[in-house]
Symmetry: C2
Subunit: 454 residues, 2 copies
């Protein structure tokens, strides 16, 4: 049907395996290092934090990893997610380009995050774990893990960055509706939190601080494991259900994407859409342009250093090689709380280093311009994070118009903005400002990177 808008698959077509990009990388990922010895860590080093099944996925080189049936059984509550052609946006832009988006906002928590929250909760449950601790920024991840915890009877504690906790009471209410506990970070519940509060009782918090708190809880209590919503290899792996579905859905469209776009904070929604397509390319398929879009106020891929760094402010995590702004870097205020992380997933960093993807940074106002235009054409109000991908897709479509090229553009609509309407109110009130990060502060944060022999 030539005017088809929405490409849906039934639940039997949810992928049966996750796709592991590590199997097809032209050069292997640098190893993860122990923060003390600076030697490569083994699975046993990670056991205090993660169940063994996830550790093995973290280091796996297998191309395909089976998705256990109980996890597919949960996925089918909302997956496969639709691939939608943005015909009204194309028309408004008067572009010869075709614009498609994969809509991950249909999940119960409203974003792509349950794709990994569900397997993480399930593997923990299989190993007998009954309590999980984690951090969240804007709250997409915290609500996703709370949802997964509710399904499998796991108690979840979420350390939410203080400024988001105060600004987004509805996201916190969602976390509590799923039965989890939500604590503003820095908190008095951990040494890491108390140390920060001692220096600054009004600290707005950061993802790096909240990670330290959540890791500390798990490290100190053998009953508790830790769960991370992005950055790690097994998180990227779980997210690939999305890109695999998109490949099947493109077979229905008769089109083939020339440009694939995702926003990047820790890298997980980007990886989820992009890795399966990149895998096709690395196994001899067609080369496509792949663009990672990040906030100009927290530009790890475009302005960070590719170096070993800690994942958290308190330096409790292993060292990973990634594009980083330095673990002490605190970005200025902006509304895409999910993109406020100092580092980038090692796998995403690695493929950027290998020249397999492009990266681009935007300030927030122009992203909201694009998001509002998208909402008025396509109905869906994007999350502030996803507005970065929309901005890039619109710019690429306008380039196609200038160049007279009927390219096919695909982007990931990683989540809806229902819990972020305060940001839209600020936008309409003219109160969104585009703050630059402090160059001096970045230089200082980068100077503080741990020294690791090359």
């Amino acid at each position: 049907m030539s005017d088809q808008t929405k490409f849906v698959l039934d639940e039997t077509q949810i992928p049966k395996t996750w796709y592991n990009l590590a199997a097809d990388l032209p050069k292997p990922l640098p190893p993860v290092l122990h923060p003390g010895t600076k030697q490569p860590v083994g699975p046993a080093d990670l056991e205090p934090l993660f169940p063994m099944a996830l550790i093995l996925q973290e280091v796996s080189a297998e191309r395909y990893i089976d998705i256990p049936e109980p996890i597919r059984d949960v996925y089918r509550m909302w997956r496969p997610t639709p691939l939608i052609r943005a015909r009204r946006l194309e028309k408004a832009l008067d572009t010869p380009a075709k614009i498609y988006f994969k809509y991950e906002g249909v999940s119960p928590a409203g974003s792509h995050k349950p794709n990994t929250a569900v397997p993480q909760a399930w593997y923990n449950k299989e190993q007998g774990v009954t309590r999980l601790s984690t951090e969240t920024g804007a709250g997409q991840w915290g609500s996703a893990l709370a949802f997964a915890g509710a399904l499998f009877g796991i108690d979840v504690t979420v350390f939410q960055v203080r400024v988001s906790y105060d600004q987004k009471p509805y996201r916190r209410a969602l976390i509590e509706t799923y039965g989890a506990r939500c604590i503003p970070s820095p908190s008095k519940e951990t040494d890491s939190g108390r140390a920060i509060l001692a220096r600054d009782p009004n600290s707005p918090g950061s993802l790096g601080i909240a990670i330290s708190e959540a890791v500390e809880v798990a490290a100190k209590d053998p009953q508790v494991k830790y769960s991370l919503g992005s950055v790690l290899n097994h998180v990227m792996l779980h997210q690939t259900v999305n890109g695999q579905e998109a490949i099947k859905q493109f077979e229905m469209t008769g089109d083939d994407p020339d440009v694939i776009i995702g926003c990047t904070g820790g890298g997980s929604n980007f990886a989820g859409l992009v890795f399966p397509f990149l895998g096709l390319q690395l196994r001899g398929g067609r080369k496509r342009r792949i663009i990672a879009v990040e906030p100009a106020a927290c530009p790890s891929l475009t302005r960070g250093k590719y170096a070993y760094d800690f994942g958290d402010t308190g330096h409790l995590t292993p060292l990973v090689k990634m594009h980083t702004l330095g673990s002490t870097f605190i970005p200025p205020g902006f509304h895409a709380g999910g993109l406020r992380y100092h580092g980038m997933a090692p796998m995403v960093s690695h493929i950027h280093e290998l020249g397999l993807i492009e990266a681009r940074a935007y300030h927030q106002k122009t992203c909201f311009d694009a998001g509002v235009q998208f909402a008025r054409c396509e109905g869906i109000v994007p999350a502030p994070e996803a507005n970065h991908a929309v901005r890039c897709a619109v710019d690429e479509a306008l380039r196609c118009k200038r160049e007279g090229r009927p390219e096919t553009i695909l982007f990931n609509m990683s989540g809806h903005g229902h819990f972020d309407m305060a940001a839209y109110i600020a936008y309409f009130d003219g109160k969104l400002v585009d703050q630059d990060y402090d160059e001096g502060e970045l230089a200082m944060a980068l100077a503080g990177l741990p020294s690791v022999a090359a």
Copy 2:
């Protein structure tokens, strides 16, 4: 597949016609009366408010009315909506019943309301109308019409009940994101609003007042038409896309609903799911139990009078025969703003009077109990309105358990609660109270019903 959870249809299966229950009613609907002459109104009387195509639908006795392709083209942005089996809820209740729900929250505005907002905007546009005025309570309807207005280039003005305007800034932000204007009601922009404010400058407003304001704007300005999100026959008609899809989806399940449930405020989401099933019955098919669920604090079907009444507080609308609490009745505070209307759709009232449906009223706390249990099992956080349907579905499933009957239950999940999380916060804080309406006030409101010769 025996363990299937989600029953999806592709967009080619969106119904091509709306179903008009009027064609199958055993007894015709009582006529709509002119408020002055108290004689039946003709199409010309309604022309100041509505485009002729909608007026003709309002009085049509045709069983099927074609859905114009441009409307189906918009429906495919989110329709067909999924039919989902609530397997985890069944398990938590340990019931032999099968519980299904039709999930209308996947629409861009998050509820069933765009099913009629889109055709209403389109028919107005076809007649050259460029401005629409309407009212909204909780904001589901206002945001749906704002969305539809954005698609067809129509300026939309929404009078939102003051108490909801203040309590739900995110819903208002959604209306504004779609480019519409949102005004708290009572306002100084209309005679009706000014009259209320003169008596009570702090009036919290009501749907009846907001309707008066919106109708007045349209009645006074030939450039503006009025749009109503519930109650009227053409609104019920448009909503039947949902029930028709549900019938097709049940063919995929191998089950057949014994009990069908919807919450009722003005009646539109209930009618949309129920009327197509009821039509099958009236044409000789199987009899099913059909239950309308309303709030105990605003119980038009269970405690109202079946009588001619005005649709608004200012008495600007025609008189319709319906279950009513009286147009001056103001319900006590509760969180399902979409169910705070003094009257019930004439078609829903009529079939209740004919004994074709049951009605039941619940206070809000028990509805939230059920809604939270549902969220923890099925992930979706229901709107406070939809929690009434969840409560009834759970109660029916528990009855099945007591009676050992493996019945099939279907309910309409009319919308998600992402914009209503303040109500969940109040629930968890123990601040939700079950207020009864004032019996004296109800008696007075009913005593004030207009006198109409039988």
